[in-house]
Symmetry: C3
Subunit: 352 residues, 3 copies
């Protein structure tokens, strides 16, 4: 049905778009009035119906295609600004002002998308007019006792797979974030175990030292052993988990939503349990995280511009690109419905 | 011949472009010096020849394709700025500076378009190098005794068919122009008769009350019966005629010219005979008309953006969309040269 | 191999791109740090290797396609900003930080382009990973004793063939540069001999008077016989040579490099031997040359916009367009590898 919604040659959409639940905004920011969002180039409108439930429709009036998001919500229905047609949260036409007769009619429906409020975010299912049959991903540790939970929304200038690889990539940190995590000297070999998850892939880093530089000093002031996992889960969860020092636990879950082919919304949930007092952590977190993310945005912007200029990616990979190719494969298979058996567990050495 | 003038895949041109006379500007604004205009994406240059006649050529020098509109008129010929080639109002090459020999040559012609000054406007025939064999549309009541005649030029952000439908559509007025014409409450049913005209279509509204809101109060302060017709005539005339109260007559003729596929020039001639003194009318007219048109421009802009985003129109219509589909059909048939028999007269009910 | 570097449908590249040596900048401006250049839409990075030699690579890291020009040069190798991969001047991968094992690998190479410093300019050969087997064009009289040599870089808003034709065209000077060289009155016929050169074409103007207007007065204050040649040489040399008055000799060599399809870099070398003292000449040269070039840029911009608007060139030529069609033919044949026999010498008359 998605094919009917738009032209398949749309340059704003990605070819490798995996069906699933995507975050489109924070629950707190969705009030009764309409809020437009873009999901892989497709304009949707979210609003709250008469019960206060979040709902999502295609942002196009069935009548003359005006954007419903330019209208307003009247008693839980969204009213088009052009001729006043109204639609409920399920997409049914409820009013055609001026028409003698009933408004409801199959030709006057607007496609509707399953929508949920969960863990502070509004999630939308990517396919119209279906019940997905399962719920959105449950973000670990979010709002659990003992965890400080911080949420941030950023807009990253790159396609979903590039943003996910960047978020889960270790080797770039010594260059793009020189001085913050790792340095390009006195490197030691560690072991990395790459294993398949259900609908995803995980890299476990064994024998890693406490991150060098500023971030390590804040998170584990007294040093200690480090446990570190990077994970990707379909359709767009990128997760970095650290256990280090005496009971410190930091798990960052980025829900990635392709806004268009080359722009990805990143909805981050950071759950932190460390010795540092929460007010200090809150104060330090944002400037450091934004500094790191701006460096990543800059390199992603350049990478994306290059791929556009050359017309296609032309990547060479080595074994220390532990997750990038697997993420691409997972997305491609999910987008096309094909599936190959999960690869065996793999162990490699990396100098960090 | 139009096909030779440009690539047929030009995204600036509309597929459903009906041949005919189009207004490209006001006669008063066309002086001897060249003035460029765009007719459905095709650059033309208008100027006045040695007799003061308005003439129109393709705005492309036959030599190295420089825009003739960047040159100047020399003794009634247009001279290119690059190498000084000159062309008369019929497109003949009259000078090639530096060449030993005659300038005139079939390969050095520039396509010429029939051009007229009529009723305050410059009209151009859409096909090059032909005598259309008929004259431009005669605008009713313009400059007739007893009528105040007002002319305005606006640029509407939408394709011709959408602008024409918008100009002739009744149901949107209760929403886009809430409070000015009609309201979305206490609606009463009226009858609408839709009938074919020669090269057009007309809707007559029977039993309509005096327009509610401000505009009605100004035009017919003492109420009375209302006669109301909306008309579309090929290639781009949208006309709204009201007779109401004691001898009030207002006829608005919008000559629509596609500048590009999604931008339409609207050249309006409003002929008014009402009890209101002309100076008062003149004073009131412009701010009210501009207020209304800005609301229409805003919704047209949004509608056009949506159709571009989705790649195609996906319209559902009801019987109270009395002229929209007929306008599209007239334009498509005129553009393709096919013609189907005029539909029978049709009567519907509408709540206004 | 160029086909592998990018999509062949790239709108930034010209179809008629002749292989050969192209100037991409001045030698003085190329220091050790990376400098990006565009050669017919293809992003290259130039820098100096550990020996101080100018080198040119494709500006795309073999790993994740980040632009190498955003990185820096470390001991003569260029280091990518994203993951720190390093490449030498020949495109070999010399470092993959974090990888246990050797960095060099054929899949990790970056295409390299032959590069030379000659006569003040950096020249790059257009095809990757080949030894062209011949050296860049030797600019006549540059830096020779008795000649004042002036170098300028301008960016012209037009395709290479249009810029070359404009630079070598006599008839436009009476219009675009009215008053500076020639006037459109009291014209006298002269003879023009057009003859093929090896990989080029030349027009010799016989019987021409000293240029009228300001420029002639400066260059040959006492008048005298004029010898004048205009030349085009593949892949993009446009040359104007004047000998006039008592031993005056001016030879302007423009090395034209297509940056993109419609933008051409013009690297001019002007070698002048005249009676005017050098400091006066230097002072006068720049404002006059810039005035002339701005007029040419303006008309080239308009011409290029027109061709884009109409989708293709539609040129009519006469015999006084002495070099334009020949330049187009030379470029097309060089681009496609076809070659037709050189045309016979031709003589025409022109009024100047």
């Amino acid at each position: 049905m998605t094919k009917q919604l738009r032209q398949t040659t749309d340059p704003n959409t990605s070819g490798d778009f995996a069906p699933g639940w995507y975050v489109v905004g924070s629950s707190r920011a969705l009030e009764s009035q309409p809020k437009p969002v873009l999901l892989n180039g497709l304009p949707l409108v979210t609003f709250r119906d008469s019960l206060g439930q979040s709902v999502a429709l295609l942002d196009r009036c069935a009548h003359r295609n005006a954007p419903l998001s330019a209208g307003r919500v009247v008693e839980g229905n969204i009213q088009c600004h052009y001729h006043g047609w109204q639609f409920d949260g399920g997409g049914e036409c409820k009013a055609v002002p001026g028409l003698c007769g009933t408004a409801e009619h199959p030709a006057r429906r607007v496609p509707a998308f399953a929508c949920r409020d969960a863990q502070g975010w509004v999630w939308v299912y990517s396919e119209p007019d279906v019940d997905p049959g399962f719920e959105p991903y449950a973000i670990p540790c979010a709002d659990e006792p003992g965890y400080l939970t911080i949420r941030e929304h950023l807009t990253m200038p790159g396609p979903l797979d590039a943003v996910a690889e960047n978020a889960l990539d270790v080797p770039h940190t010594a260059f793009v974030h020189a001085g913050l995590f790792r340095k390009n000297k006195d490197r030691q070999p560690i072991e990395v175990v790459i294993r398949a998850l259900d609908g995803g892939v995980e890299a476990e880093f064994i024998g890693e030292e406490r991150p060098k530089g500023l971030v390590g000093h804040i998170l584990a002031p007294r040093g200690g052993e480090v446990f570190h996992w990077d994970r990707f889960l379909l359709p767009g969860i990128a997760q970095v988990e650290y256990r280090l020092g005496e009971g410190s636990h930091i798990i960052t879950t980025a829900a990635l939503t392709p806004r268009t082919r080359n722009v990805t919304d990143l909805f981050a949930t950071v759950a932190v349990k460390v010795a540092v007092p929460n007010p200090v952590l809150r104060t330090l977190f944002k400037p450091i995280a934004m500094h790191i993310l701006k460096q990543d945005m800059e390199i992603l912007r350049r990478q994306t511009e290059q791929v556009e200029r050359f017309g296609a990616e032309e990547f060479a990979s080595t074994e220390i690109d532990v997750l990038g190719l697997r993420i691409k494969k997972l997305l491609r298979e999910a987008a096309t419905g094909k599936q190959s058996p999960a690869p065996d567990e793999r162990r490699i050495k990396m100098l960090v």
